[in-house]
Subunit: 200 residues, 2 copies
Amino acid sequence: MVEITRRQAIEEAASSLFRERGYSGTSVRDIARAVDIQGASLYAHVTSKQDVLWSIVEHMASTFEAAADAVEQADPGAAAFGRGVYLIALARAHAGVITDDIERASVFVHEWRALLGDRREEIARRRDAYEERFSSAIADGVRTGVFEVEDPSLAATYVLTALNGLVTWYRPGGRLSARAIADLYADLSLRAVKATRPVP
Amino acid sequence: MVEITRRQAIEEAASSLFRERGYSGTSVRDIARAVDIQGASLYAHVTSKQDVLWSIVEHMASTFEAAADAVEQADPGAAAFGRGVYLIALARAHAGVITDDIERASVFVHEWRALLGDRREEIARRRDAYEERFSSAIADGVRTGVFEVEDPSLAATYVLTALNGLVTWYRPGGRLSARAIADLYADLSLRAVKATRPVP
DNA sequence: CCTACCGATCGGTAGG
DNA sequence: CCTACCGATCGGTAGG
């Protein structure tokens, strides 16, 4: 039996509203209305609107990081394939995290800039570190010859923004399953950077 | 000698602010302060905040459409290459429009959802029609065998969102020139959908 | 383009 | 979790 706390309900309602209208386009009263309480009553459960945004963004940052960690640990043979399998697994994991929690993921991608001060800087740093995993996977592949790309860092940005684009259009129950989309997106990502002629 | 009207200055200031803080995170007073007039004085030049957003978004929609039109007209030999050159030209043109006017482009990509009523619907329709150009270019290439992709429409979305990602990170005067970025991005886009073995 | 002003709404607090 | 309330700010108008 699953307990849904009011706090969780508030975060879910906020995620949905932040996705639709943005952080600053959503009022504290909008969130309260969505969980059927008075605006001021929200402060019995959260300390501020910023705090709700932080919970959502921080949770997703950790989820993306954990998914990438799992890929790294589950893929000891990656070196043998010159990182090709590794990149495709990273891309699939990233897409999977997004489709698994599309509303929070959307807020993470689009609204982290509404964070203030140190929190904003922390997320900026963690995003850079995360992107670096894609970048160095591509750079490794270029070194071993399975990938062929002029600028690994630019290619990583290209791929990651394409994957993040999911956030703008994905809706559960669409024409393609989440699984199919993740597979297709990972395939497109791999092919964008792959060397044209397989190396011996 | 180039005349800069106050109205143009207002739109430029608004583009920059809308990009940084979003439409609803920007107040009419913020825009006025950026052009050194009083908040209420803004209404001597514009009829509403929505109207400023509309001008920016509509202008960019037309710019993207015109760039794609130019590619179509300048490329009568596209069929001979099975649409491969055509897609790369479309992608390069799209990237070029973004880097040429990064602030307005950013507002177009991220803030069109803040448009109300019919205007929002109009932009949604025009975006769909624009995306359809990419989609059918890819579908044509699949038919002639130069491209190989399971779902042309999904591939078009993938490519377009990757190109639009430019809006989140591009800044003039960076490590790579706008031209180099457009070339590299167009190349990555083409390779993502290209058939692995060239067809006879 | 300014000053003065409008009603509505904002995020948040006090005190129960 | 509620009612009542706070000062600040919102987009916009009136009248010059």
